[in-house]
């Protein structure tokens, strides 16, 4: 090679080395944008994902992230079709959120098939990191075990021993009922009966009547979103709470409390992974979120999307690629740190570990204004909040 060619080659090599870190990532936010879970996920998750990308300053680090979104209408078949289309035709690298456990399990399978990454924030079923775990799937925010362990245990220890379940008839409801029954029986309570309602439902009067007739101390609501709101309203109407039976909202989001109003919701005990007014970090983050969302405060699902995308982007930066195995390996071997959950870690079965919190809904007198709804009863540390690794039945765990 003569001198001129060598210089040119050297210059070219230097230029290429400068732009080596240029990864294009396409991120898809798939959730319910129009049905009963639209307020707890929906557009808020897209906003949270964008906030994560901006806060991480991805563009300056050479990671170009494109965000797209779609509505799965809480139907696993629709979710599957969209996921396939996204992976095959649109070149999506990672799917985020996906509430509705049946849809989440479907998307997890497809993600495994295509060798991509799935960061779930909205779904609840423990099967996502249990029997149906997958190498590219991470379950971030909460699951039915954490809910059962939090609310279930707290209620039984407060004296509510006999349980009757009102269960949404799909994967999530079954999982939540099973996990909570187990906790109830372990702590000395008993399950006197259960009834499954079609999902989504509108009128729960018939099922509540059966629950009332069972004579249980507490009616466990193994449903979520609009279903829970309606069940609680109708329970108040039928004098169930006045007659002495307690209601255990096993999965309640702050948007549900907002819809119910403090008058109806006061006293409810619930387990969440995030509350906007928990500490200075969450307050600051929530204020920024609120500005983009017209005043609504974030739910734990939104916070989970932010945390997951942040950790994912760190993984892409560290691995210098978006290749699934490299990124997932980094994510599982390094702790996560962000404004919303603080410190956390991603376990080998895909379960993200962080502290969970037991809250109680304030009474109207105790609340100082809109969205000031919770008081903290206790913190459940990450080590005990989630199902132990060996109990899940995940094939990835040796």
């Amino acid at each position: 090679m003569n001198f001129k060619t060598a210089t040119l080659a050297g210059l070219a090599a230097m230029l290429m080395a400068g732009s080596a870190m240029a990864v294009d990532v396409k991120l898809g936010v798939l959730n319910d944008r129009s049905g009963i879970y639209a307020d707890l996920s929906g557009e808020g998750s897209v906003v949270a994902a964008r906030m994560a990308i901006e806060d991480f300053d991805a563009a300056a680090k050479g990671i170009n992230v494109e965000v797209i979104s779609a509505d799965h209408q809480n139907k696993p078949d629709v979710a599957s079709t969209i996921a396939r289309q996204w992976y095959d035709q649109e070149g999506v690298d990672v799917i985020v959120d996906v509430p509705t456990s049946s849809a989440a399990l479907a998307v997890s399978e497809i993600t495994r098939e295509k060798g991509k990454i799935f960061l779930n924030s909205g779904a609840a079923s423990t099967d996502l990191t249990g029997a149906q775990c997958a190498p590219g799937t991470a379950h971030w925010t909460y699951d039915t075990y954490a809910l059962a362990n939090g609310t279930g245990r707290a209620m039984v220890e407060s004296g509510y021993k006999n349980w009757y379940f009102l269960t949404a008839d799909y994967a999530f409801g079954h999982s939540l009922e099973a996990n909570t029954s187990k906790v109830v029986e372990e702590t000395g309570g008993s399950v006197v009966g259960s009834v499954r309602h079609p999902f989504p439902g509108t009128d729960f009067s018939s099922f509540l009547l059966q629950a009332q007739a069972s004579g249980a101390d507490v009616i466990g609501l193994a449903n979520a979103g609009g279903d829970t709101v309606n069940s609680i309203k109708q329970a108040a109407e039928f004098g169930i709470t006045q007659a002495g039976q307690a209601l255990a909202g096993l999965l309640i989001f702050i948007t549900d409390v907002h819809a119910l109003g403090l008058e109806t919701a006061q006293g409810l005990v619930l387990t969440e992974a995030f509350y906007w007014d928990l500490n200075d970090d969450t307050r600051e983050w929530s204020a920024r979120f609120s500005e983009e969302m017209g005043g609504s405060k974030p739910t734990m699902v939104h916070a989970g999307v932010y945390s997951a995308v942040t950790h994912y982007l760190k993984g892409v930066e560290a691995a210098d690629s978006k290749e699934t195995e490299a990124v997932m390996d980094w994510m599982k071997s390094n702790p996560s740190q962000d404004q919303v959950f603080g410190e956390g870690s991603l376990r080998e079965d895909g379960r993200h570990l962080h502290d969970m919190y037991l809250f109680q809904v304030k009474s109207p007198a105790e609340s100082t204004g809109d969205w000031d709804y919770y008081k903290l009863l206790s913190t459940i540390p990450a080590e005990v909040a989630f199902m132990p690794l060996e109990d899940g039945g995940c094939a990835l765990v040796e």
Binding site: G35, H197, P198, T202, S206, L209, G226, K233
Partner: protein, 295 residues
Amino acid sequence: MFELLGIPPQALFGQLLLGLINGSFYALLSLGLAVIFGLLNIINFSHGAQYMMGAFVAWMGLTYLGIPYWGALVVVPLVVGATGVVIERLMISRLYHLDHLYGLLLTFGLALIIQGLFRNGFGVSGLPYSIPPQLSGGTNLGFMFLPNYRGWVVVASLLVCFGTWFAIERTRLGAYLRAATENPTLVGAFGINVPRMITLTYGFGVALAAFAGVLAAPIYSVNPNMGADLIIVVFAVVVIGGMGSILGAILTGFGLGIVEGLTKVFYPEASSVAIFVIMAIVLLVKPAGLFGRTA
């Protein structure tokens, strides 16, 4: 006390009563649909959205204008009925010379637009609307605790349903309307303003849906999807009752509410499917519906 298939009679009566209450919503809504289809031959798919608008306008009336529940029962059907009149005049009337299905497409599209607008404006978690104080609380009937409001729903629904049936089947105005739908040219020749009658009838059908919406606001969540969930079931009710029959729609509405209530006791997971199974059976055995007349 005897037990029917393992269910004690108290539980059964309670469920039957609840089924009757749900049935009154089905009856009211299917009545509006039956009036609009039976008399005007318009397949009004926006009926569910108009029911939802009734609930929302009641909420808006309370929140912004302080109109209480009792006032809303009168004002809201008028307001929403007026929007129905506007829709009919501006859009639906242009499709009369075409196949029924165009009316279906138009009203379906309108329903999607209305629902989407409300969803953008109000979210899906629902807005609170409290039961009026005069109807709050309940009565212990022995076999169940009946909230007074739900009892009122059954009474109001029965009154409005049979009032409407009487007006259409037994009064002169109803006779004009029925004649106009059979032979509009001839009736028009007698000096009766047929297009105006049709417009007002459509408005009346929409007002019925809005009335059902106001009744529903205190007990069901006031959210943009409330109509979408209900409209499919209501169409099934109208089909089973017979598309042209007013009385059929009313009786089938109450009857199917009771059937759904029973399904919830014996096999709850199937409760949302039961009505469609019955619809399939009825269509196979008697395609014109239980009370329908074959054309």
